[in-house]
């Protein structure tokens, strides 16, 4: 039966944490104590077996989701900072409005701006779709996300995608709603008059499969 200090020394010896003097003293004790020596050999073998069976580098599970969530969080923090600095600056401006003559002048300016500017002539930041993060599993695909002020749209451009074959027929639908079937883990997409057009379900690899009902026999 080992005492706790011996156990601790054994672990430090196995982990290579002892200095020269400690190691020499422990190894003298190890050679004198057959039970301790057997314990040390057993633990050494166990460690070697574990090291050989476990890979040195393990990929992080769901790395893309992890990264996207970090990016979302960073974007949210940046937005919060912008808002708080905007609030701080607007608070300092309100101090000026306590002066009566300046308040009157400001009211005139605000009224003039309201008359001159058309409602759709400028796009406020809060009116625009924002892309917070992107991730393309295919390393050959480069994603460019940007706002196009002229088009009043946000663009995700996927560069590096292989071209579709020219003879491939692209099948389009006119879908006006869906009906989920939880029991079957599927979704039926419906046409304008409620007729089923497509069934979408996920396979065992969690990949979507689309069954076109309009082309059935």
């Amino acid at each position: 039966m080992k005492t706790p200090p011996e156990d601790h020394d054994l672990i430090r010896w196995l982990d290579g944490e002892m200095n020269d003097a400690e190691r020499a003293a422990f190894e003298t004790r190890l050679n004198a104590d057959s039970q301790l020596k057997a314990e040390a050999e057993s633990m050494q073998k166990l460690g070697e077996r574990l090291r050989s069976s476990l890979p040195k580098d393990r990929p992080m599970p769901h790395a893309d989701f992890f990264n996207s969530q970090i990016q979302v969080r960073i974007a949210q923090m940046e937005l919060d900072e912008e808002r708080s600095s905007a609030r701080a600056s607007s608070a300092s401006w309100t101090e000026w409005f306590r002066l009566p003559w300046l308040a009157a002048a400001a009211a005139v300016v605000v009224a003039m701006v309201a008359i001159v500017s058309r409602p759709d002539s400028r796009v406020a930041a809060s009116d625009v779709t924002q892309v917070l993060s992107t991730y393309a599993p295919n390393p050959d695909v480069v994603v460019r996300g940007y706002e196009d002020a002229d088009a009043h749209a946000t663009v995700l451009m996927l560069d590096g995608l292989p071209d579709l074959p020219a003879d491939q027929k692209i099948v389009g639908y006119d879908v006006h709603g869906s009906r989920a079937d939880k029991a079957m883990a599927s979704v039926t997409l419906l046409g304008s008059d409620g007729q089923p057009l497509v069934v979408l379900a996920k396979d065992s690899r969690d990949q979507p499969r689309v069954w076109d009902l309009t082309t059935r026999g």
């Binding site: 779709t129 992107t134 599993p137 088009a151 579709l164 099948v171 389009g172 869906s178 079937d181």
Partner: protein, 171 residues
Amino acid sequence: MSRCIVSLFTAVVLAGAFGSVASAQPAPAPKSSSKAPATDGQVWGALIYATDDGSAVPDDGTTFPKELSDLEGRLGKVFDHKHFKILGQHTQDILREYESWVVPSRDLFLKVDSNGPAEGGGIHLHLQFWQGEQVLVKSDAVLRAGSPLFIGGPKWRDGQLVFVLALQAEH
């Protein structure tokens, strides 16, 4: 072995889907207790063929929605093509608790998960853009009404396929 499992899975799903289609005629009255799933908004998604050849796709009378009547011009500012033809479109509620699918085409479609309303308007969404069995891009975005998202997809024939996702204004 895996092919057998996929075939079996396909058969089960189709049997369920067709079974529900077949039984649609004598549809029982919905129970008063059943509630429609909560939604965070509604989107319009479309697969569009950007091309310079006006005769490449026959005109079937499909037009852009009223809210996006100027969409062709806006697409022209981003994609260097003269014509933009709708190949397929899908109007879909964004479910609050479940994933939603926007499938204007069998070939390119979108999975949408709502992360709730965004401050200042719009919806936080997690998007996955699929081409068949491959996800081309995953993205977190805040989608706002009047400001569509254009996804520039693969080149096809003499042009390019473009996916448009637009949040419908609340009525």
